[in-house]
């Protein structure tokens, strides 16, 4: 098998431009790689081979006419199955949508289409993006290409495993509490959650509306920047999307990091962390220092309340967002029902998995009369305090650097018995969503079992370029991004 599937977006782009590679060859190689590795990794719910070949051929035709569209033209990507691609089944990792075929593109999908990208498939995810391992997917868990007995992280686990296994040159995920960054960390790839409002949510199946963001995963920081460039920008169809101008991320990538002031929050270096994770992260920080960045310890005092606040706000919004899955207008409907009420209840009971039901109930409770003030409203107030903690630090520092998760990828089944334990693994990523900030994860080490460790870089709102700049500098000074997963054939 050729090595085409191992190309980065940048490398593939160069070869396509030079003409010594066609988009069709690249896509065929990618599809062959998928066929060879899917039985082991299971990154995809739907592989869109026909669509991909069609798009690849179109890319080649454009290039022949001298009308190539840019760095993503002809590049094969995986799209998380909560993001609509027109004409393709969308499942959100759930049974409740039945055979729903998306009648329209999400804005991000339309942007990728307009950039000439090729969609190789819809990536597996925890049901309705609720989870940290893809074990909540009703289509079965994805596997970590570094160790097939372990989870790839979640909820965008399939998006991360697809990139790590070289089944796509890049992918899109969504991140509500860490769902791009944590799987990127688990799988040793680069993942970015943009500032809330940077990328459109239109056409993305909603989990928690005030927290969800779409973001790119890829094998290098440069590739992530390329993807972000196409995704970012105001969308009139999304009232929460920002008009903040979009810089040229790739142009700003190679700036010197000398003098940048990094902050290390002491609350993120706690007991209970896997020692190798802390070591890798601190080593990475020293690396950044050697590149000229300054490092200082700071405090984010309300950190320990983030998970509780998140699980009230996110579940409250989710309980409302998921009310539309009632079997009336689309999806799987329970036909053995005597009346409407029975239809609602059976459809939702059979269609939703346990975690989704848990969160709907928790969210419903948090909003109910008599509890709203103590739960939902209280969580919103704590959210203000958490955001304030970050903005205080950003008054004097340019980036906050932390581990991505307390441990490397855990084993399948290890945390499924205790939901609360699963929730606690989001501890380092969740505050960033509550505060609406951008967060980048880059690989920064391997533990003794050969499992990847991720470094998280958080920056000010709409300053993704600073995180990318730091990530790129670190990456170029190290070789973690060139390591190949050991769980599957190269």
């Amino acid at each position: 098998m050729s090595d085409l599937h191992r190309l980065t977006i940048a490398q593939a782009g160069e070869r396509l431009a030079r003409g010594d590679l066609s988009a069709r060859e690249l896509t065929d190689a990618t599809l062959a790689r998928i066929a060879a590795t899917e039985p082991a990794v299971h990154s995809f719910i739907t592989v869109t081979a026909d669509l991909a070949r069609e798009q690849a051929d179109a890319a080649d035709a454009r290039r022949r006419r001298g009308e190539a569209l840019g760095p993503l033209d002809g590049i094969p990507l995986a799209i998380k199955d909560v993001i609509h691609v027109r004409g393709v089944r969308s499942t959100a990792g759930s049974q409740i949508l039945g055979d729903f075929i998306a009648p329209f593109d999400a804005t991000v999908s339309a942007r990728l289409r307009a950039a000439g990208a090729v969609c190789v498939g819809k990536a597996n995810c925890d049901e309705f993006a609720m989870g940290s391992s893809t074990e909540n997917s009703s289509f079965g868990a994805s596997r970590n290409p570094w160790d097939l007995e372990r989870v790839p992280g979640g909820s965008s686990g399939g998006s991360a495993s697809a990139v790590a296994a070289c089944q796509a040159l890049g992918s899109l995920g969504t991140d509500t509490g860490g769902s791009i960054r944590q799987p990127a960390g688990c799988c040793g790839v680069v993942g970015l959650k943009p500032t809330y409002g940077r990328v459109s949510r239109y056409g993305v199946i909603a989990y928690a509306s005030s927290l969800d963001q779409v973001g790119p995963l890829a094998r290098t920081v440069d590739d992530c920047a390329t993807l972000l460039q196409v995704l970012a920008g105001h969308d009139p169809a999304d009232s929460t999307s920002s008009r903040h101008p979009v810089p040229d991320y790739r142009a700003l990538l190679r700036r010197d990091v000398r003098g940048l002031r990094l902050a290390l929050p002491r609350e993120y270096f706690t007991e209970g962390m896997q020692p190798e994770v802390e070591q890798s992260v601190r080593t990475a920080v020293r690396q950044l220092e050697s590149l000229g960045a300054r490092v200082e310890e700071v405090s984010l005092p309300h950190s320990k309340y983030a998970i509780a606040a998140y699980y009230l706000i996110a579940t409250a919004e989710a309980s409302s967002n998921l009310a539309r899955y009632d079997g009336v207008r689309y999806g799987a409907r329970e036909t053995d029902a005597a009346n409407l009420l029975e239809m609602y209840r059976k459809t939702r009971d059979h269609g939703f998995g346990a975690e989704v039901k848990r969160r709907i109930m928790l969210g419903t409770y948090a909003l109910s009369a008599g509890y709203y003030d103590a739960y939902y409203l209280k969580a919103q107030r704590v959210r203000t305090l958490i955001r304030h903690d970050f903005m205080e630090v950003f008054a004097t520092h340019d980036a906050i650097v932390t581990p991505t998760a307390p441990s490397t990828a855990f084993r399948l089944g290890e945390k499924t018995a205790d939901p609360l334990q699963m929730y606690l693994s989001d501890i380092f990523t969740i505050s960033v969503n509550l505060a609406g900030l951008p967060g980048l994860v880059v690989p920064c080490g391997l533990d003794a079992s050969g499992l990847p460790v991720g470094l998280q870089i958080v920056t000010r709102p709409f300053e993704e370029e600073t995180a990318l700049q730091l990530g790129h500098a670190y990456e170029q000074a190290t070789d973690w991004h060139r390591r190949v997963p050991t769980g599957i054939a190269a």
Binding site: A308, D326, R345, R348
Partner: protein, 83 residues
């Protein structure tokens, strides 16, 4: 009931237990002094995002009904509603 979920007795038991644990954990929020702290409902600041009053959608009945589990010509069909 408010969430329109029908659970088996076993599911209810397990759920109640898990929710109990989660709620106990969430109680930690009560430690935080939030008097005088305004709630954050949105983390993005934008001026009003409004559209002009114009019809921009053409009829697309078939597309909207394409995924309907049950239909009657151009209506969505549901089992009887008991008032």
């Amino acid at each position: 009931m408010l969430a329109r979920l029908e659970l088996t007795a076993a599911e209810e038991d397990s759920l109640a237990h898990q929710l109990g644990d989660i709620l106990a954990y969430i109680e930690t929020l009560q430690e935080v002094d939030t008097s005088d702290v305004p709630p954050t409902a949105h983390v993005v600041d934008s001026e009003n995002l409004l559209r002009e009053d114009r019809v921009t959608n053409a009829p697309q009945v078939e597309a909207m009904l394409a995924n309907a589990p049950e239909r009657d010509d151009h209506h969505f069909k549901v089992p009887r509603i008991i008032e």
